[in-house]
Symmetry: C2
Subunit: 189 residues, 2 copies
């Protein structure tokens, strides 16, 4: 069975998007700078490996409603070539896209994670959106984290981690420095 993974880029001060996220500004003010490592060319080999893991590494994705709302415009598709489960209170029929289908889950993150794991088979499930990550961490649903720490203080925005929570020990699995970002990998113990 696959595992549940948080794979996200955050600033050194802990934000995965800048202030004032909206449909028109999906990454918030200055938030695009977080992802420079993904789009820089020539690409550092480590960044290329991580980008590939992000792009092709997941058998299904669980997405928060806010992330879906601001993402669907720029993506013009599912964010990855995999089935996507959007956690929302809104009852909606499945929304097929070029590379996968958005399905809308109304009974919470644990249910969405369960459905995504079933769909992903042996592959991992990615969690997208700070709210989803925080709920999944609080519910003990996360197995691994792959965090890119971008060399940037955003000074505000959407924090990846946001208490109140319980102290949780992580096990460092790997750290890899590229020219542009620090790749940190953890397992939840």
């Amino acid at each position: 069975m696959g595992q549940v993974v948080v794979h996200a880029t955050m600033s050194l001060d802990g934000y995965i998007a800048g202030p004032d996220v909206s449909i028109d500004l999906p990454m918030g003010r200055e938030g695009e700078r977080l992802h420079e490592w993904l789009f820089a060319r020539p690409q550092d080999p480590l960044d290329a490996r991580e980008a590939l893991a992000l792009k092709n590494g997941f058998g299904a994705v669980v997405i928060g409603r806010r992330t879906f709302d601001v993402g669907i415009g720029p993506w013009q598709d599912t964010p990855f070539a995999a089935p996507c489960f959007v956690v929302t209170h809104e009852v909606r029929p499945p929304l097929p896209q070029k590379s996968g289908t958005f399905r809308f889950v109304n009974d919470g993150v644990a249910s969405a994670v369960r459905q995504a794991l079933a769909e992903a088979g042996l592959r991992d499930v990615n969690l997208m959106g700070a709210g989803i990550v925080q709920q999944a961490l609080a519910a003990g649903l996360v197995d691994k984290m792959r965090i890119q720490v971008a060399p940037l203080l955003l000074g505000g925005g959407r924090p990846l981690f946001d208490g109140p929570g319980v102290p949780t020990a992580l096990r460092c699995v790997e750290v890899a420095p590229s020219a542009r970002v620090r790749h940190l990998r953890y397992r939840m113990d």
Copy 2:
């Protein structure tokens, strides 16, 4: 002339102390776990190098009032063998200790940093306390950061970085993984 350095250990969720910091609990709940890398034996060579840089690397220290209040008990001395400048509204005479003297600065962090740099000569100045770090960053007074990211989610506490701020690009200088902690080094550009 020396440089102004933030040298601190933070959890992956950005806290340098757990919740409920007090005289009786200077690192907050579970906050002591942040510094396990400093006290673990046998010590990883990288951790030993960084601990030595922290212990002996500074010619002077600027300390926030809150850090001083909760630290003076456990330290029973200055925290490092160097002159210490405590930023406070309270007018107090210098307080000599075994390894240095606490001096109390009443006209703000910029003044304390100036006095500390003058005292440190060619050596660097360390900033202790989240409030001091945040004020120094906002005032553009920080030259370098050496951040240890501990494999731990504290879920609450005292954040090292706390907006509102302006986006600030950092230059990654080094990343070094030990068995216990990730050492990240940045220069402010």
